[in-house]
């Protein structure tokens, strides 16, 4: 559980730096296969993970670098993974959509929209069966709200009061599909009403609000009170992926949301406490951390072709 604003800010900055640098690296051809940025959604990732204990678990999505960093994954093996190197957290086998680090409780990103929901619910079932006291946070985009897996798993979790928090990051788009074009609900959190669990909305451009809402849900989950659906209202400030034609929204709309930038908002509050110079120091440190991660990635060897067929089975 993270209480100090400075750490929250630092983690958000790390995500921003990581995903910004990635864009350069994708465009320069160092990273293949494309990638999804979490820019504008840092407060959701950091706020949720700030409410978790270190040995709590999460599942993540195709847009998962923020979740990974917030949960404590080291950016060096993350960047090496994007470079497809042996030093990557998945030894270069997974890439951007499959970042996993079981050592810090990240059970994996996922390239299939909604597929993390079953995995997270099963992990929560395991905690409940083993009475581990751990909680699972399951991230997914609002696009995944319309996958059948949501109903099946959330229904089960509600029925058995599993220790899980479902976090829907409503960044307002699933590729080109605006959230309002995807359901008939005025309020996405109402999806919970049909599944028998509480549903809450939170301003996810505000990291503290996210953390506080999650903390309540985590407490309920850990105490045997069952799951909660949190709809974290945020905005995807960049394209769906690097290279998105972005023909489906106006510059004005984006500008409106940029004014809510969760990092800028946090910086404002934090500056009042620690001053601008200290903030600039944090910014520089996080920038340097990403420089270092890129250097680490570049220095890491590519996997040997001869090992390609290894590791299909445990």
């Amino acid at each position: 559980m993270i209480d100090d604003l400075q750490t929250l800010y630092r983690l958000m900055m790390r995500i921003r730096e990581f995903d910004s640098r990635m864009q350069v690296l994708v465009n320069a051809g160092f990273i293949r296969g494309g990638a999804h940025q979490a820019i504008g959604q840092e407060a959701a990732a950091v706020g949720v993970c700030a409410a978790l204990d270190p040995d709590d678990l999460i599942t993540s999505t195709h847009r998962g670098h923020g979740h990974a960093i917030a949960k404590g994954v080291d950016v060096r093996p993350m960047m090496a993974e994007l470079f497809g190197r042996e030093g990557g957290c998945c030894r270069g086998r997974g890439g951007s959509m499959h970042i996993a680090d079981f050592s810090v409780g990240l059970l994996g990103a996922n390239g299939v929209v909604g597929a993390g929901i079953g995995i997270a619910t099963g992990a929560a079932l395991a905690q409940s069966l083993g009475a581990s006291g751990r909680v699972v946070a399951c991230f997914f985009g609002e696009g995944a709200m319309n996958q059948g897996a949501l109903l099946e798993n959330v229904n089960y979790a509600a029925l058995h009061a599993l220790p899980i928090v479902y976090v829907c990051e409503n960044n307002h788009f699933a590729m080109s599909m605006r959230a309002e074009r995807a359901t008939a609900l005025a309020n996405l959190a109402d999806r919970a009403l049909g599944l028998g669990l509480p549903g809450v909305s939170v301003d996810a451009m505000n990291v503290v609000a996210v953390r506080d809402a999650t903390r309540e849900a985590v407490q309920r989950a850990r105490g045997g009170g069952g799951p909660t659906l949190i709809v974290a209202d945020c905005y995807r400030l960049e394209g769906h992926h690097i290279g998105d034609p972005l023909n489906y929204r106006t510059r004005e709309e984006v500008q409106h949301w940029r004014e809510q930038d969760p990092i800028a908002r946090c910086r404002l509050k934090l500056a009042a406490v620690i001053g601008d110079a200290e903030i600039a120091r944090i910014d520089a440190e996080e920038k340097a951390r990403i420089d270092d991660a890129v250097a680490f990635a570049e220095a890491s060897p590519l996997p040997l072709a001869a090992t390609a067929e290894e590791g299909v089975y445990a």
Binding site: G111, G122, A123
Partner: protein
């Protein structure tokens, strides 16, 4: 190996009871093992085919979990529970409904170990059953094992006898990988020797269920039994068929198959699934590739015709393969 059959005088049990014993023993042995599926606890005292009978009484509702009708979640949650350290044994009531759970099985369970660079393993079993029980029509009668064979990262097991059913299920539960374990509706009530002492049957090993010199018949599940009957018939006219029960389809034991073909120079592959793009194709193709010189006659496949399974009995019988088709095929390749 023939030697794996229990000694004369050993105890017999049904295929369903043998599976039930495997579950019970593994649940006793390893507290991480639990069962999850529809109507496995309350219904009839333990599952539509009795495989989970008595388990909820012994292990409680925590470890023998009746679920809502949510196949994708049954398998999806099993993946997550396995990744988090448990050993789920999921049941899908009819294998036709695996069509509802392909994503967690194929895109998640099968890939996690490799895709995450070895840090995760997914030790889970999905039990279901293949085959036409008779009169259950197109949506409750399919044999879909070929699909799973084509998925790297999965193991595929299809036992024919009570002995193998028990030993293979125990091995599957202990395996650190996702295993699709396909039982057969027409086998649940068949009886066979099942020793009282504990044993395992390893995955990836075929079993010669009858020794012969004239033609090799590779088959699984019900078709093993039909092949044994066919072999009796053929024997009367001097044709000795060797019956290889493939048992595990992935990994498949090509060595045992090729060794048999080396002896007989003739191969028939028989399964209840439709022939077209069925698992028999892989066996025939492999032998054509690496055993081309061993053959004295074209290989033949025996299986269902390429049709949904019809309801009406004469139609169903016409679509499904039977002993006579095996006898005819064996005669044809021997006469070649």
């Amino acid at each position: 190996m023939i030697g794996q059959t229990a000694p004369v005088g050993a105890r017999t049990a049904t295929y369903a009871a043998a599976l039930n014993e495997a579950l019970r023993e593994e649940m006793q042995r390893d507290p991480r093992v639990f069962c999850i599926g529809e109507d496995i606890a309350v219904w009839g005292g333990g599952g539509v085919y009795g495989v989970t009978k008595g388990l909820v009484e012994e292990f409680g509702v925590g470890r023998v979990r009746d679920t809502p009708i949510s196949e994708e979640a049954i398998v999806g949650m099993s993946v997550g529970a396995a990744a988090a350290g448990l050993r789920p044994v999921a049941e899908i009531m009819y294998s036709d409904f695996l069509a509802l759970a392909m994503d967690p099985l194929v895109n998640q369970a099968a890939k996690m170990h490799y895709m995450f660079g070895g840090q995760a393993s997914v030790p889970m079993v999905v039990r279901s059953n293949s085959g036409a029980p008779g009169g259950k029509a197109a949506q409750h009668s399919q044999s879909l094992e070929a699909w799973f064979m084509h998925v790297p990262g999965l193991k595929v097991v299809t036992p024919a006898t009570p002995f193998d059913a028990k030993g293979l299920l125990k091995s599957s539960i202990r395996d650190p990988n996702p295993v699709i374990f396909l039982e057969h509706k027409r086998l649940y009530q068949t009886k066979g020797e099942v020793p009282e002492i504990e044993y395992l049957v390893p995955l990836g090993r075929a079993d010669i269920k009858r020794i012969g010199r004239d033609v090799t018949i590779v088959s699984n599940q019900t078709m093993v039994l039909k092949a044994l009957e066919a072999a009796d018939d053929l024997s009367l006219s001097g044709i000795e068929a060797e019956i290889v029960d493939v048992r595990t389809l992935k990994p498949v034991d090509m060595e045992t198959i090729l060794e048999s073909v080396r002896k007989t120079s003739r191969l028939i592959v028989a399964h209840e699934a439709n022939v077209f793009a069925g698992w028999g194709a892989e066996i025939v193709a492999r032998v054509a590739e690496v055993g081309f010189e061993l053959l004295d006659a074209p290989m033949m496949r025996v299986g269902a015709k390429d049709s949904p399974i019809p309801y009406s009995e004469p139609l169903e019988m016409a679509i499904l393969p039977d002993k006579d088709a095996l006898v005819a095929a064996a005669r044809a390749v021997v006469a070649y």
